[in-house]
């Protein structure tokens, strides 16, 4: 498998507090990478580094490098807007804009200056189809996105992220705020999406990691303890701390 990201000696600080220590990771392209670990272990911080969302946090500082397609996304002269456009993100809490369903998806195109209505119409439909929510919303596109259920809102957010044609999709605990049935649909969706996208998903749910990911990274206290193919990690972990965590002894 080709690697999409090469993370090398990544150290992250919030003010004086160190959130990540010497993380090295090769994230494969067109596969699902799961990031697991107990609360506060740095897993969210880690994925938020991959599209520079942490830039918005006051006191954030990064050392080491994150190469995406061979280029360091933190190097000078890297256009952060461009990075985020290529590397989309879906958040823990569904965060649709208080606009119509249609306008939520169209937003990403509009900010790029796309005015052509036909093109926007096409992208809206395709994105909603890719996110497996088209059938549910096709008759109510002008309605407010806030009228959707939590699970639908989250799939809408996935569709919104797909509308700007990213290459990578980062998901930060995307199913922790929604019910099990909606969770099942999103997992199914991610399995389909990995054909065309590189996916990194943070989850606190180990069964979820086991069900959908190809490779899993286990974080503990800001360190990457183990990074292995999921099947191996869940049957035969190398590190005793990993074993303790996945067997439910802590966390």
């Amino acid at each position: 498998m080709d690697a999409a990201f090469h993370v090398q000696k990544l150290n992250v600080f919030y003010g004086k507090k160190q959130a990540l220590r010497d993380v090295n990771m090769e994230i494969p392209a067109k596969a699902v990478t799961a990031v697991i670990g107990p609360s506060g272990c740095g897993k969210s911080t880690f994925v938020r580094c991959l599209n520079r969302m942490n830039d918005l946090v006051p006191g954030f500082r990064v050392e080491g490098s994150i190469l995406y397609q061979g280029k360091d996304i933190y190097s000078r002269g890297m256009d952060v807007i461009d990075v985020r456009r290529k590397i989309g993100m879906v958040f823990q809490k569904p965060n649709p804009f208080p606009k119509s369903i249609y306008e939520n998806i169209a937003y990403g195109l509009r900010i790029q200056g796309v005015k052509n209505k036909e093109k926007i119409d096409t992208v809206v439909e395709e994105s909603l189809k890719k996110a497996a929510i088209w059938e549910e919303v096709k008759d109510r596109l002008p309605q407010s996105a806030l009228s959707l259920s939590g699970g639908q809102q989250q799939r809408l957010c996935i569709a919104r992220a797909l509308a700007v044609a990213p290459e990578v999709l980062l998901l930060d605990e995307p199913t922790s705020a929604i019910d099990p049935i909606a969770t099942g649909r999103i997992e199914e969706l991610l399995r389909e999406l990995k054909e065309s996208y590189t996916i990194v998903i943070v989850t606190h749910n180990m069964q979820q990691a086991a069900r959908i990911s190809d490779i899993t990274g286990f974080f503990l206290m800001g360190e990457l303890v183990e990074f292995d193919p999921t099947s191996r990690m869940f049957t035969n972990p190398k590190d005793s701390r990993t074993e303790d965590y996945i067997t439910g002894r802590f966390g």
């Binding site: 807007i81 989309g88 990403g108």
Partner: protein
Amino acid sequence: MIEGALFLSALLSVFITVGIIGVLLFETVSFFGEVSILDFLTDTEWTPLFADKHFGILPLFTGTFLTTLIAMAVSLPIGLISAIYLSEYASDRLRTTAKPFLEILAAIPTVVYGYFALLFVTPLLQKIIPDLSGFNALSPGIVMGIMIIPIISSLSEDAMHAVPNGLREGGYALGSTRLQVALRVVLPAAFSGVAASFILGISRAVGETMIVAVAAGLQPRLTLNPFVPVETVTAYIVQVSLGDTPAGTIEYRTIFAAGMSLFVVTFLLNIISYSLRKRFREVYE
């Protein structure tokens, strides 16, 4: 005991409000016993203090409308831009220090603003516009606008600051610039709060008295020309209250008729503002 005292003081303010409305209504009704409502609303002259009496409220309302329009043309863009800056660009430290300073503008007595308009802004404007009369709508309008900036910026900033961070992150994650997030995500999400602040600003401008009484000229005139003297509804009330108008005369009752019309307008504006803010709260709770 304490509960009773609290209840009484709450009741007192309700009674006072009801009393004011009662007096307004009573005097207004007797005013309309002498002047027809049709004349009041359609006559184009307002001369209750002259021998040839006319009771058309329109010239006073155009005065109010004109000064309010000018005030909003100043306060709306500046207030909104400073709200966007404070909420989306300024650091936390700057925001928490700059906001109280801005709000000091609201603590300046309006009579000071009035003389500021008359003695400083008008002469300044006359250098640019030689035709400008010594009393006019433009200068008090601008100064009222300055007075209203903190209302708009502070309330709009509150509304924008209350927009959940998740929406901003959603915007950034799609490759938005900071300005796009501010204008296309945060501002629409805070729309009803921002609109409520505008309406509150308008109702403040409509009800403002001292600035226009001092600097606008006390001459009721049916015009939308900002360069000539005009009189607003509020300024008229001051003018007639200061004179030696005997109670019970028709001149005396004009105060209440004018006051009642003003009350209706500001009351409607407050209702709109209230309902907008209520809608705004429902979205995020």
